[in-house]
Each structure stands twice: as C-alpha cells, then as structure tokens.
Symmetry: C2
Subunit: 323 residues, 2 copies
C-alpha cells in the first residue's frame, strides 16, 4: 500500500505522521511552503505539489478544507493513476462525493471521516496519537468497487488501528449532524449567550465545568465550524429544528410550572449503558468478502456494528446486535 | 471559627474533608446512617443528628439537596445559636433564601455557591480537592449583617483557598442560569436527540469529542439536574427562550442558504480573551471594611471582580476593571 496525503492540517498531518510511524510508504503535500518545510522537519516525505504526492500512489487521501475539496479533486484527477483509490477525511460526505464526482473520480472514490479532533488546527497541532485507534466512518454508494472499499478498510483497521462503520453518505451526514454539527452549533450559542449578556463579566468569572465542557468546541476555529455546518446544512437544519422544538417545549413547561420529568429522563437507557469512546461490545461476527459484501457491511453497520479487522477473506465486525 | 456541615453528599462531603484538612474545627452530619459511618471512617467528626452538628457552631452550612432545604432549615433554626451564621452550597440562591427566611433565619443567612462539581454524586465521590481553590458566589440581601458576610468570605478565601464574587441573589441566579442551568438543559437535549433517533446505534458508535463534551453533564444524576433547573425556572426559562430564538434564526438561515457568519463569530472577543478556569487578571484593589462595604463589594463584583483575601481591615479584590 502506497499512500499520498494532500493537505497537512491537523487531520492530514496527524494521518501522515501515524502512517509513517507504522511503516507505511506515504508521501504528503500542502499548498503552504511553510507547512511543507515543517512537515519535512518532522521527518515526513513531502512533495512540492499535488502531482508529486499522488503520482504512482495506490491510495490518495484528500485532507484539505471542505471549501478547497472541489479544486483539489480536479488537480488530483489530472495526476493520479487510474487504478488509484481516492478517499478523504472531510466531516461531511455527500458534498465531498459530489465534488469528487464532478472531477471525474466517482468510480474511484470511497468516503472516510475519522471521528477525532481537537480545538486546535494546523500542522503544528498534528500528532500521530490523534488518529491512533480512532473510530472512522467509511461511506459507499451504489457502484463502489469492493476492492477500493477493502483498501480503505484495510488501512483504517490495519496500520491506523481504528474501527470503521460502513455507511451511506446520507446516514453518515445525518449522524454527523446529530453527534458533531448540532453540538458545535449549540456550543457556539451557549458561548454567544454569555458573550452578549449584561452579566457577561460575572458569568465568565464564575463559569465552571458545565460551561467549560458545553462550550469547548466553540473555541475551535469558528470559520472551520461554519464551513462544516453549512456544508451539511441539509441535515443540520432539521436536526436543529427538533432541538429547538424540544427546548421550546421544556421552557414552556418551566414557565407553566408543569412537569419536566420526562425531558430529564428521556435518555435514561443510554445514560446507563453508553460509555463514551468505548469500543462496541456485543457479538463478534465474520462477514466473508464474497458476493455483495459491501451491502452486508452496510446492513450490519446501520445497526451499530463496526469493522475491526480485514483479512484476505473476511471482515471481522464487533458490536453486532443479536439478530 | 467552628463549622457545622449538614449534609454529606458530593459537595458537603468535599467541604467537610477540605475544612478538616485545613485544620478547621468541623462537625458534620447526614440523614443517612450509612453515610455517617462512611464519613467517620474517612476521619471526619460526625454527629448523629442536626442538633449535634449545629449546637455551639459559629457557622452552619446547609449542604442538603434543594428539595430538602426547607425542612432542614427549620431543624437548624431549632438548634443553632442565635449568633450562628447560616450559609449553604445550593445551586440557586433566591429560593434558598426564601426557605431559610421561612424558617426564621433570614437575619442570619448569607448565601453561597461553589462553582465546582463532577458528574458523580454522594459522599463516596467527595474529595477535598474538588473545592480547593474553587470560585464561589456569595450572595447578600438588604440587611445582611457585615460581620456574617465577613465570616463566610473569610472561610472561602482562607481555609478553602477560593475566590468569592459577592452578588445579589438575582444576579447569581441569572448568571447560574447562563453558565450552568441552561448548559445542563442543552446537554440533556443533545443526548435526548440521539437517544430518540432511528440512527441511535450508529450515532453512539461514532460519537467523539464534541458530543462527549457537549453531553458530559447530561450524565450527571438527572433528578438533581431537574431539581436545579426547576428551582431556578424563573431565570432558566427566559435564558432558554433566547437560546431557542437564536438557534431558530441560525437554522432558518441554514435552510435559506443565507449568511451565518455573524452567528459563528459573535463571541470572537470572548474567544480570544477568556481562559476557562483562570483566576481573573486585571487590577488588584483593596476595599476597607468600613461603612457599607458589602455594597462596595457588590458594585465591584458586578463588574467581574472577585474577593481573593480578607483581613481584619480590608477585602482584597482581583479582576477589577479600570474605572
């Protein structure tokens, strides 16, 4: 497996560092000469341009900001081998697939999104440990060639030591809205509410754990958050509408001194059972890499299973619900 | 200074442990025999009932759940010395002052609220470090006797090594709604939205940092959160209404593909300047303990200053804005 990484920000940089640490043949590049110098100084093999990073590579990873995806995909299409599989690390998948398809790469594309990040950005914040063992979402569409999916799953569950949920773009983008984009919007709003309040100075002086945690991601680069949220607006808006409706119901109950017990206890089953960041338990299962095995993985992963290992003959899943 | 602590949950237990560690003469009690045994085993001096914990004490701390405050205040009123100052650690202040006043303790009461907590509860989770150096809010009302305020400020900035913002109940409860209660409601809603979604299992499998942080306080005891929020409904409801209105505006902009730049950048000044948990910078100031010095502290603290030290003759403040 030879990998080309285009873009050396927080995620691209962390990915290139981890791949190199695991002995994978990786060449990377970035549009910024200063970032390329920093990456070379960090021991990475760095090409001066996209052509140098993707020529002859078996797998090309687009790790550029969402707004740059379309232009970079077109550049990659000019230089990558026909046999190369193209993937990415973007936080939305439907729009990236559209951008990649417009560049003529639809048949070579498998979507990917590592569920990891920090409030920092840029190569200077990148760290091989950020992605080591991370949970990934991997997205397919009708016509995704199985050997390309296998290449991406092999990289994630092999050298990257992660897990992969195989999803449709739509499922990913709906889930990402729920567990990432809406939380980012809400965190931003919590911070905005205090920043705009007459009691702001007192509030910031007394803000403790609940505010700090609730607004942590609002301290990430707001331009990046804005791009992430607007790219996935089709899923974020309806999810946010449900949040607004439910919050309105609870505030009206508070105003009317009506019961709010149900609101506070609605998630009790999750509260008792979910351990954040834990690898899924449940039964293990082997899916043979035969017939339409990508469809079989889609089916299992829609129920919460993830791929933990890929061999030449089968995919090993964890977290499969009894069926 | 002799202290009686009534209630040995997370906060009362942590307070008693820290006071003892700092050499303060402290007697505590709890309604639960098992908790009293655990507290004795932890080396605390424990009385079997409220009478034993408050008789002869100079300062009595009500550290019971909000729903128990009224009954416990009445019990304390039967046994505490007339000279004793009564304070508490409740997360809302107006309702506690009302409960204490109904017990006939209005003239002896100074409100207090340590801005610290964890997602756990109960004496078994208590730890002297939880409150060591914590920021506190201390609340006064017209007629609060200065020597009682001094007793509470002296304890917080002395043996507890904390800081104290002197506020009205109303200011505290408005601020607490913004930095604690609304974040708790919003965290609960983020968790509810995922728990009730058809894609729940996939979502929980992929949930990473932003969801984990955004929902952390939703994993605290929901009954306690419900009590805290409903007790402060008068301030939580309007703050939540503003959150709902602002979220609705941003979601409608997302639906209409209209600009959302302002929403994501509204808090940029705070984003650049605020360091969560940092002691306030700004100028230091000494307020002499003469005349209506509680009013002087109220004035300074409303602008973000906090009391960091109390001597026999003056209060030392930090974070005072230039005026």
């Amino acid at each position: 497996m030879t990998v080309g990484v285009v873009g050396l920000g927080l995620i691209g940089g962390s990915l290139a560092r981890l791949l190199r640490a695991r002995g994978v043949d990786v060449v990377a590049t970035d549009a910024s000469p200063a970032t390329r110098d920093a990456a070379r100084a960090a021991g990475l093999t760095v090409a001066d341009d996209v052509a140098g990073a993707v020529a002859g590579r078996g797998l090309v990873v687009l790790a550029v900001p969402l707004r740059a995806m379309r232009a970079v995909a077109a550049e990659v299409a000019r230089h990558a081998e026909d046999a190369a599989t193209v993937t990415d690390v973007g936080s939305v998948k439907g729009p990236v697939r559209a951008a990649v398809a417009d560049a003529g790469l639809a048949g070579r594309y498998v979507g990917a999104h590592p569920m990891a990040g920090t409030e920092r950005s840029g190569f200077e914040s990148s760290d091989a440990r950020l992605l080591d063992g991370a949970p990934w979402a991997v997205t397919v569409a009708p016509g995704t060639e199985p050997h390309r999916l296998a290449a991406v799953l092999g990289l994630i569950t092999g050298p990257l030591a992660g897990t992969a949920a195989v999803l449709t773009d739509e499922c990913h983008d709906e889930v990402a809205a729920l567990v990432s984009h809406v939380p980012h919007v809400v965190a931003t709003q919590l911070l905005n509410a205090v920043a705009g309040a007459p009691v702001r100075d007192v509030a910031l002086g007394l803000a403790a754990g609940s505010f700090r945690d609730g607004t942590r991601v609002a301290f990430t680069d707001p331009a990046r958050t804005e791009a992430m949220v607007t790219e996935n607006a089709a899923w974020v808006a309806p999810a946010l509408r449900k949040v607004v409706r439910d919050l309105e119901a609870v505030l009206e109950a508070l105003e009317a001194n009506a019961p709010v017990h149900e609101f506070f206890h609605a998630a009790d089953t999750v509260r008792g059972a979910w351990v954040p960041g834990a690898r899924p338990g449940g039964e293990a299962e082997r899916v043979p890499l035969e017939g339409d095995w990508p469809a079989a993985l889609l089916d299992r992963c829609a129920a919460g299973a993830v791929v933990v290992r890929l061999t030449a003959t089968h995919a090993e899943l964890a977290g499969t619900s009894p069926r």
